[in-house]
Symmetry: D2
Subunit: 127 residues, 4 copies
């Protein structure tokens, strides 16, 4: 029985957190709680749950379902996440979250940053 | 357009490969191709595909669909993967792969190894 | 130039966050900020920095270096992290953080949980 | 003792394997063995070993040290990896592997692919 338990624990695996995101969430205007909520979303997606409820998210966090709902609303408003409609093979519609906007904001930030440091280097070279 | 592409690439993310598995697949009797096939399976699972076909797996590998099918058969036989039946909410049955047996074999190997090195240490102490 | 930048971004990679930890940090008495601080530590370790300063950690977080130092102190006290001495090949001593205590606490929690749910099942069976 | 072992196993963690790489190594001209060798390199890097020997790599693989050396030579030749010189704080020079060329090749492939499918779409629209 014991070994079976340990095998289950090891089988849980990990989610991969982009170092770019970990290094720059602060500059995107996110705080630690919001980052962790996004990680929970990613974990739910990988488990096949594409539209976790505030209650499901809050169960794993140190905040209430109401606070969680408020946080999701704020992330939607800041354009970090979006809700998409999907239709399954039986024609039944449902909603799902997507983190695409987050990646677009991150890339926008990276480009701006690269241009800025490129200019800084040019100016340095001109001196 | 460009930025959108880059965002898509970054959004692809990563799959997490257990270091225990990476360090010990050889001792479990797996070779590199079999390991990579298991990683492809994991990647399919995370994308919601629980029973990838040999053709789908082979498309990403340097082997043919026939060789891939043969490899899957061998992994089933060696007790590294298993096929489970699942029934969805509409009562429709389908099959899915599970990597549980792999984890059980890994844990079995780890225990055996820990006992062996524990005995070695005891013998050393007795000398 | 552009492609080079994109290659750099993709090369950054990801850190792997255990799902067991993500699912249970709350039950270990950690909040989201503390979890993220631990992820930053892991990221520093992988980059070869084994004893990041509060200032280095705070630079990536939405808290000040002073708050960060306080948080590290609290994690040491709660037995989630520890400081170890290491001696390099030249005999020079230095300190490094280790997350081993965190894993021991997590495993202790998992065992307790498994025993509890095992007892619950037995009681159910006896009814 | 037991719990301590299990904690150690869980603490091993995972390395993150880019899905882009997993999906396209074949198109970059890599086979499964070469991919796994690159994963072993990444694992060594994260553990602070920046120039693993063929013997160290082969120990974890199903190939001999000689075959491993040959494979490394081929990866250098194909421009997937490179060797860089580094000088430490004491002025001592050493060599290390870098996977940067791999990422540059991957990005080059992604751009070519994006342009090609962009053209295909335009042609379709013109019909």
């Amino acid at each position: 029985m014991e070994k079976k338990k340990v095998a289950e624990w090891l089988a849980q695996g990990s989610i991969a957190v982009s170092k770019l995101l970990l290094d720059r969430y602060k500059q995107l205007g996110l705080d630690e709680r919001e980052l962790v909520l996004l990680l929970h979303m990613q974990s739910f997606f990988e488990a096949g749950v594409s539209f976790p409820t505030p209650a499901e998210l809050a169960e794993k966090m140190t905040i209430s379902a109401a606070e969680c709902m408020e946080m999701v609303r704020r992330l939607l408003q800041k354009g970090m996440i979006a809700i998409e409609e999907q239709t399954d093979e039986r024609g039944i519609r449902s909603e799902k979250y997507t983190l695409e906007p987050l990646w677009e904001q991150l890339v926008h930030h990276l480009y701006t940053d690269a241009v800025r440091s490129g200019q800084a280097e040019e100016e340095k070279a001109e001196e």
